[in-house]
């Protein structure tokens, strides 16, 4: 496990699981993005799970940062699943018109891993 901008990044099977910390300030979010993309390249995984369960505010900056992570990961050939988004955060994002780019929202880690395994198998 490694800390990146206050986030944990775990490797399991052929995937990374990244959990940003609560109340990540702007610079920490950028560090998180850079570190995560670096680790995707280094570990050559086929999938990324972003666990957003600790995040209590997704504003336009955080939304854009998560979207940039997802789109960059896609370009590197990595599928991205997100889990754990709090309902109040999801409602607020929809009302603001924030979308996260090409991510697959799933209910929990089990389903996210299953999804990513199937993506890899089907490719």
């Amino acid at each position: 496990m490694e800390e990146a901008g206050g986030a944990s990044i775990l490797k399991i099977e052929d995937f990374l699981i990244a959990t940003p910390q609560e109340a990540m300030h702007d610079l920490a979010a950028i560090q998180f993005k850079d570190e995560l993309l670096r680790r995707l390249k280094e570990t050559k995984v086929s999938g990324l799970v972003m666990n957003l369960g600790r995040i209590d505010v997704v504003d336009s900056f955080m939304g854009r940062t998560i979207g940039e992570i997802a789109n960059s990961a896609n370009l590197m050939g990595v599928e991205v699943a997100i889990i754990g988004l709090r309902p109040d955060v999801a409602i607020t994002m929809v009302e603001m018109g924030i979308s996260l780019g090409n991510v697959h929202p799933l209910l929990n880690l089990d389903l996210a891993l299953e999804f990513l395994r199937n993506q890899r198998g089907g490719a």
Binding site: A23, H25, D26, L27, A28, D56, V57, V58, D59, S60, F61, R64, R86, P87, D88, V89, I91, T92, E95, M96, G97, I98
Partner: protein
């Protein structure tokens, strides 16, 4: 639930990234103390986050003032900066303007949508003041 903090005013200086987090966290706690539910707390915290960031990145820093609204029916937040001001307010309020990343558009328009009232005054060379209010659902009002 705590007493309605009629005299309570929370001020947060916005000088660096981390102050945005402080401002929105204080707004969330204040909203909770007034009886706002979790979804409204998050709407308020997100709106504060957007406007505080504008004050920092476009206004060079400023201040957030959080208080119960005068009519005691909700929460009022004022965010002021002494930056260059916003030359074309109507266009800046349009969603997606300007198209460059970090632009004001999504932030201002988004914050406005999350709150019940949203006023913005901006004078070139003087600064920008945003006043936002959220009303408590009537069943919670005292």
């Amino acid at each position: 639930m705590t007493e309605f903090p009629e005299e309570g005013v929370v001020e947060v200086e916005i000088r660096e990234d981390f102050d945005i987090i402080t401002a929105r966290a204080r707004a969330r706690v204040f909203a909770e103390s007034l009886g706002f539910g979790i979804v409204d707390q998050t709407r308020i915290a997100t709106a504060v986050s957007e406007i505080a960031r504008n004050a920092l990145t476009h206004g060079g820093g400023g201040k957030a003032i959080i208080r119960a609204s005068k009519d005691k029916k909700g929460l009022e937040i004022e965010i002021v900066d002494e930056g260059p001001g916003i030359p074309n307010l109507d266009r800046a309020m349009e969603r997606g303007f300007p198209s460059k990343p970090g632009g004001l558009g999504l932030g201002l328009a988004g914050a406005k949508r999350l709150m019940d009232e949203f006023h913005i005054e901006s004078k070139p060379g003087v600064g920008t003041k945003v006043t936002m209010r959220k009303r408590l659902p009537s069943r919670i009002r005292r």
